[in-house]
């Protein structure tokens, strides 16, 4: 895997039309945009997205992981509030400001470790992108994907194409009964601790994953989902407490960061 931290493509803000909206169930929607100039992005980077016609409210753009780059970049939106509701109900042709690529993507996986991707809900996006990159390099990741029930696992098919996918649901409606951490336990055993974990999902999940990796002495990167104002380092709104005090800024020092560096308890 190529170094993703250096030689980062330059972020730009463009106004582009929505090309298509693919809705997966009621609350997940893949939005694909039509860009004249291809969007170059590395797995784990994100975009700040806002409807060009939203007027003054909602005021700020919304951070969204980049699912695919290129001329037709896409994101996966889960409806949680007004901004995501508007994104989810937009129609092809509508104009959006897309500010991307932003942030620091995933770091390469050491040759001697198995990449294990742990996804929860929409946290799957940056991991699908990562898995595709790994596949291109001829590496195959193990993916662990969990949710409350089968309906909370968008893009499971996409993930299955490029990984060795294992699923857990809390209600047992798909895959193993229980949380994704059960799957991680097996994966740690299976790889005899020679794994590198990449995790993205709810905060509580990521905290638990990091804890398990610490016990197994395994590296663990996480993609942080904090509230963001600007997405490019100028508002200082996205502070995340670090181990040992102080804060890191999720948008410019992350979103992909060393999970062991985060003070999860705070």
């Amino acid at each position: 895997m190529e170094p993703m931290h250096c030689g980062k493509p330059r972020p730009r803000q463009v106004v582009v039309p929505l090309l298509r909206r693919d809705s997966i169930g009621a609350s997940h929607h893949v939005l694909t945009f039509d860009c004249e100039q291809p969007l170059e992005a590395a797995p784990g980077q994100f975009a700040m997205v806002r409807g060009a016609q939203w007027g003054e409210s909602p005021f700020l753009p919304r951070p969204m992981s980049i699912l695919t780059a290129g001329r037709r970049p896409s994101i996966l939106v889960k409806v949680v509030g007004e901004g995501t509701r508007r994104l989810a109900s937009s129609e092809p042709g509508e104009l959006f400001t897309v500010h991307a690529p932003l942030g620091v993507g995933w770091a390469p996986c050491p040759e001697d470790r198995v990449p294990v991707l742990v996804a929860g809900g929409v946290g799957v996006c940056p991991l699908v992108f990562l898995a595709r990159g790994l596949t291109e390099q001829g590496r195959r990741a193990i993916a662990l994907y969990g949710g409350r029930s089968a309906g909370d696992l968008p893009l499971d098919d996409e993930l299955a194409e490029v990984t060795d996918l294992r699923i857990a649901t809390e209600d047992g409606s798909l895959g193993q009964l229980g949380r994704v951490t059960v799957l991680l336990e097996s994966a740690i055993e299976e790889t005899k601790g020679r794994l590198k974990v990449y995790a993205c999902g709810p905060r509580a999940m990521m905290a638990r994953v990091v804890e398990m990796c610490r016990a197994a002495d395994a590296p663990c990167e996480v993609s942080l989902e904090t509230i963001m104002g600007c997405g490019y380092g100028v508002c200082l709104g996205c502070a995340v407490p670090k181990v040992g005090g102080g804060y890191l800024y999720a948008c410019s020092e992350g979103p992909c960061v060393d999970g062991h560096a985060i003070a999860w308890e705070s």
């Binding site: 909602p58 700020l60 904090t226 509230i227 600007c230 380092g233 508002c235 709104g237 502070a239």
Partner: protein, 303 residues
């Protein structure tokens, strides 16, 4: 007609009337990938304190109708690191830099100004006597005319740089504070900083910000800001710099008509890194369309 967008703020000539507001533009260098920031009227730095500050615990921001609340808590690298790590690059790029300063005592305000006075490449000092998001020393200075004047003259005494004072909208009568600062030697007045607001999560019953209250910024604030700029401009002779909810050229023009010599673009930078650049261009377009000089706009609605 080709128009010359430059404006004079006291003795200082700015390339155009569009600045970027403190705390919304980092230290300027973050904009390197987007455009040449030396083309702006000026950039105001994130508020600088004597020592570095890590800022408040998260969450630090939340969105409100047509605006946002922030309680960053003046996280900054400290004046020393600014002078050694940031200023040289800004100087090299010919950026017009306004150093925004913040302190919890009059002595510290003076110390900050003294430190900055030693540097080349600073166009003015903007004294923030109006930060609502720190335990100490934010608002007290901004809501009491004596205190505001004391800070102003302490800073004036130790620097040859133009001193701008950034006013708080939370003073009962902003014009009284403005006049006190003018008498104490302020070279320009900046209005307004944010107004404290509170947002509560009805699911968790907890404030949305860890600091509880945060400063309201954005278009929601604009009518209040315009009114205050108008009051200040009527009350003083020094230039007024308008701040609050500027997102487009029309907003900037509205501030100028109300009496502002220039404007600062704040939260709009979060939506669009090119916001200030586009606004400056929009003012030129407006003036060329009407065949007027941008300076003619200043205070035209004051009557």
């Amino acid at each position: 007609m080709r128009c010359d967008p430059s404006v004079k703020v006291g003795a200082l000539t700015l390339k155009n009337p569009v600045l970027t507001a403190s705390g919304t533009f980092g230290y300027g260098l973050e904009f390197e990938p987007y455009f040449d920031i030396s083309a702006l009227g000026a950039i105001c730095t994130k508020g600088l304190s004597l020592l570095p500050r890590i800022g408040n615990a998260p969450p630090r921001i939340c969105e409100t109708a047509s605006g946002m609340l922030n309680a960053i808590g003046l996280a900054n690298i400290g004046v020393e690191a600014f002078c050694t790590d940031k200023l040289p690059s800004l100087r090299e790029r010919n950026v017009t830099v306004v150093a925004n300063i913040f302190a919890t005592s009059i002595e510290d305000f003076a110390a900050l100004a003294r430190r900055l006075d030693r540097e080349q490449g600073i166009a003015a000092i903007e004294v923030n006597i109006s930060c609502p998001n720190v335990d100490k020393g934010g608002l007290e200075f901004g809501v009491d005319p004596q205190m505001a004047a004391a800070v102003t003259s302490a800073v004036k005494k130790v620097t040859k740089l133009p001193v701008w004072v950034k006013l708080s909208p939370e003073a009962g009568r902003i014009a009284v504070i403005a006049r006190a600062c003018e008498e104490a030697g302020a070279d320009a007045l900046c209005a307004i900083n944010t107004i404290r607001g509170l947002a509560i999560d009805v699911q968790t019953w907890k404030p949305r910000l860890s600091n509880r209250t945060g400063g309201l910024s954005g278009p929601a604030l604009k009518p209040i800001a315009i009114r205050m700029v108008w009051e200040v401009a009527k009350a003083v002779k020094v230039p007024v710099i308008g701040i609050g909810g500027v997102t487009c050229a029309e907003d900037a023009i509205e501030f100028m008509l109300a009496g502002a010599t220039a404007v600062q673009v704040g939260s709009a930078n979060f939506r669009d890194p090119l916001a200030a650049h586009k606004i400056a261009q929009g003012i030129v377009d407006y003036c060329e369309r009407r065949a007027i000089d941008p300076r003619e706009l200043i205070g035209k609605a004051l009557l």
